[in-house]
Amino acid sequence: MSKPNLRLSVRPLGGGCCAIDLFGEVTAFAENSLMDAYTQATGAGATTLLLNFSGLEYMNSSGIGLLVTLLIRANRHTPRQRLLAVGLSEHYRQIFELTRLNEAIGIYATEAEALAA
C-alpha cells in the first residue's frame, strides 16, 4: 500500500459543512489520506461531509469498502454526521445504486444542490 494515487483537499463551506475534494483513485491505497481528511474535517467541526467526486478517475471495490468505513465512522460520531456526494459520473452513480450506498449517502449533481437540500 505504498503508492496512494489520490489527492484530497478539505474545504470548509461554513454552516457545519465541509467539502472533501477527491482527485484521482479511490482504492485501498487511499485509506490513510481519506481518513486523515475525515479527521481534519471533523476537527473543523463539520457535521455534514460533502464528498466531491468530480475529480474521480477510478474507484474500485476496495474504495467502496473505504466509503462504507467512512459511513460507519460518521454514523457513530456524536453528533451523527451526514455524508453527501456530488460530481459522481453516471457510472459511479449506478454503482452507488447497486450497492445501495445512495440510500446512506445523499447524491446530488452539484454542491449548490447539496447545500440547498
Partner: protein, 536 residues
C-alpha cells in the same frame, strides 16, 4: 497282399484322429499261411532301424537283422518277414511289410526284384499323397482359425455400441477397425438416469475368442458397476476385484473410464493402465493423467481419480494402442509425440477420426498390415452457438498492487478500437475487468509479481468476451452477498464488494477451474444498433 497294403496306407496316412499309438504288446503267434494282424508301427527317430532302412532302399529280410531296436522287435513279433522301405529323395516315408508267403516258401529273387521295382515306383506317389494330405490338414486348420476369428469378431462387434448417444451441445464420434487376428479392443457408452454419460475404452491382452470373451465379461462388469457407483475409480476397483479371480493367466485388461456431466462440462476419469487420453484445449494439447494398474492382474487395487473441465471447443481423444503402435516399413512406431502433434494441428471433433487415420496411413505406407485393432472415441464440446469470437488481443500482466487499473485501461483501449460498445457499457466492463484482475492477483497469485495474469479479449458481432486467467487453480472463495445495512451495523466487513460488482456489471459471467488455472470470462452483449441504445 491287400491286407498288407491296407496296413501300409494306414501307416502312411496316419490312424484316424484319437486312435491310440501302436500297441507294443507282442502280437499273438502267427500261424503259417494266416494273415498277420495289421501293424501300426512307429519307428522312433533314434531307432537304428530307421537309419538302416533309409540307407537300404531294397527288400530287407527281417529275420536276418539282429540289433537292438524296439521297432525291429515289433516287426518280428508281428510275423513280418520282408520289409521294403519306401524312400523318396533320401527320406524314409513308409514301409511295405510282408508276412510269410502263403506257399510257406521263402521270397524268391524275382519276388524281391518285383517288390523293389514296386517300391521305387510307389515311393514318389506315396510322397505326393502325403503332401496332399498334409495340405488338406493345413487347410482344415486354417478354416478352423478363420471360423474362430469370425466368432471373435462377431462377439466383439455385437457388443460394441450400435449407435452413438446424442448429447445436446456435444459431438461424439467413434471408430473401430479390427485387425485380421481380432484383438480385444472395445469401447462403450452408458447413459445414466441423471443425464450423465459414461465413456469407456479398453483393450484386452491376447487375441481371438479368449480375448473377445474377456472383453464381453469386462463390459458387463463395467456396465453393472456404472449403475452402482458414480465414482470412476470405484467402478474400476470393482471391475478389478471381479476379474482378478476369473481371468485366464497372463491376460489382463487396460481400461479408461470417464464420467461426463454434459451440463457443466465436468469430466471425471480413472485409468486402469490404458494409454493416456488427450485433451485438446485452445491453449494446447495435454495428456489426461491418472494412475492405476490394469484390471485382472492383482487383487485389491485402487484407482486414482482426476477431473477435467471441458470448455466449449475442447476435444478429448480416447484411443487404443493400434493407433500409436502402428509401424512404418522402417519399423518406426507412430508413437505418442506424433499423435500429440496431430492433435495440435487439427481443430478436433468428428473430423479428427479421418484426419488421424489419414496421418497413420501416410506414416505406415501402402503395404501396411494392420497389426492390432484400432479403436478411437472422440468427445467434443461444441463451441458456443454464437462463438464466432475472433481474437482481439492477448497479453499478460504481473501481479502487483494497482496493476488492475493498467490492465483495465489496456482492455478498454483494445475494445474501443475494435468494438462499437456504448460508453456506459464500456465503463461497466472496465469495472468488471478491474475487479476480476484484482481477484486474480490477490487470491490467485497472492500478489507474487512473477506470476502473471493472462488476458484474452475476443469479440463477435454480438458479443465481447474478456477472459482473465490466473494460475491459482482455485475458485475465489465465495464471500457473503454484501449487505450495506449489515456492514453499517458492523455485522459484515466493510469490504467484499468485488464479485458482487462483477456480477452486476456484465451480461454473462463464466468461471472455470481446472486445478491449474482459474478463468473468469466476462461477456458483454453488443447491441445491434449501438447508437440510441440506452443502457439499463
Amino acid at each position: 497282399m491287400s491286407v498288407w497294403l491296407n496296413s501300409l496306407w494306414k501307416k502312411l496316412f496316419g490312424p484316424p484322429a484319437g486312435s491310440a499309438p501302436a500297441d507294443p504288446a507282442p502280437a499273438p503267434p502267427v500261424e503259417a499261411g494266416a494273415s498277420p494282424a495289421i501293424l501300426d508301427l512307429d519307428i522312433a527317430p533314434h531307432d537304428p532301424l530307421a537309419a538302416y532302412f533309409q540307407s537300404a532302399p531294397h527288400p530287407v529280410e527281417i529275420d536276418k537283422l539282429n540289433f537292438d531296436s524296439p521297432a525291429l522287435r515289433q516287426l518280428k513279433a508281428n510275423g513280418t518277414r520282408l520289409v521294403v522301405p519306401l524312400v523318396s529323395q533320401g527320406e524314409l516315408i513308409g514301409l511295405i511289410n510282408l508276412g510269410p508267403r502263403r506257399s510257406e516258401q521263402d521270397y524268391s529273387a524275382d519276388d524281391r526284384g518285383l517288390l523293389s521295382n514296386l517300391a521305387t515306383q510307389a515311393a514318389p506317389a506315396v510322397r505326393v499323397a502325403q503332401l496332399v494330405r498334409q495340405q488338406q490338414l493345413e487347410a482344415q486348420e486354417r478354416e478352423r482359425m478363420e471360423q474362430e476369428l469370425r466368432v471373435a469378431r462377431l462377439i466383439q462387434q455385437t457388443l460394441l455400441p450400435r449407435e452413438l448417444p446424442q448429447l445436446a451441445g456435444w459431438n461424439l464420434s467413434a471408430y473401430y477397425q479390427p485387425a485380421r487376428a481380432v484383438g480385444g479392443d472395445f469401447y462403450d457408452f452408458i447413459r445414466l438416469e441423471d443425464g450423465r454419460l459414461v465413456l469407456i475404452i479398453g483393450d484386452v491382452t491376447d487375441k481371438g475368442v479368449p480375448a473377445a470373451l474377456v472383453m464381453a465379461t469386462t463390459r458387463s462388469i463395467l456396465r453393472s458397476g456404472a449403475q452402482r457407483w458414480a465414482s470412476p475409480g470405484q467402478v474400476l476397483q470393482y471391475a478389478n476385484d471381479m476379474l482378478v479371480g476369473d481371468i485366464p493367466p497372463k491376460m489382463f485388461v487396460t481400461c479408461l473410464y470417464a464420467l461426463l456431466d454434459p451440463a457443466s462440462g465436468n469430466l471425471v476419469y480413472a485409468n486402469a493402465g490404458h494409454d493416456l487420453p488427450y485433451r485438446r484445449h485452445r491453449d494446447g494439447v495435454a495428456e489426461m493423467r491418472a494412475i492405476g494398474m490394469p484390471l485382472g492382474l492383482l487383487p485389491g487395487m485402487v484407482y486414482d481419480e482426476q477431473t477435467v473441465q471441458l470448455e466449449p471447443g475442447d476435444s478429448v481423444l480416447l484411443y487404443s494402442d493400434g493407433l500409436v503402435e502402428a509401424h512404418n516399413p522402417q519399423r518406426e512406431m507412430f508413437g505418442f509425440p506424433r499423435l500429440q502433434a496431430c492433435l495440435t494441428q487439427h481443430p478436433g471433433g468428428a473430423g479428427l477420426v479421418d484426419y488421424l487415420l489419414a496421418e497413420r496411413a501416410g506414416f505406415v505406407g501402402p503395404d501396411w498390415d494392420q497389426e492390432d485393432d484400432t479403436a478411437l472415441v472422440i468427445l467434443q464440446r461444441e463451441a458456443a452457438a454464437d462463438d464466432g469470437l475472433r481474437p482481439l488481443a492477448s497479453f499478460d500482466w504481473p501481479s502487483e498492487p494497482g496493476n488492475e487499473r493498467l490492465a483495465m485501461e489496456k482492455v478498454a483501449a483494445v475494445v474501443r478500437a475494435a468494438v462499437d460498445l456504448p460508453p456506459a457499457r464500456l465503463e461497466r466492463l472496465k469495472t468488471a475487468v478491474a475487479e476480476a484482475t484484482m481477484n486474480a492477483m490477490e487470491h490467485g497469485h497472492k500478489y507474487q509479481p512473477e506470476l502473471t495474469v493472462h488476458f484474452e479479449v475476443r469479440a463477435s458481432a454480438t458479443r465481447l468476451a474478456v477472459q482473465i486467467t490466473d494460475h491459482g487453480g482455485q475458485p475465489m472463495p465465495r464471500a457473503q452477498t454484501p449487505d450495506l445495512d449489515a456492514k453499517l451495523a458492523g455485522q459484515q466487513s466493510p469490504r467484499g464488494w468485488g464479485l458482487f460488482l462483477i456480477e452486476k456489471m456484465v451480461d454473462e459471467l463464466n468461471v472455470t477451474t481446472d486445478g491449474q488455472h482459474h478463468t473468469v470470462e466476462l461477456v458483454m452483449h453488443i447491441p445491434e444498433a449501438a447508437h440510441g441504445h440506452q443502457d439499463a
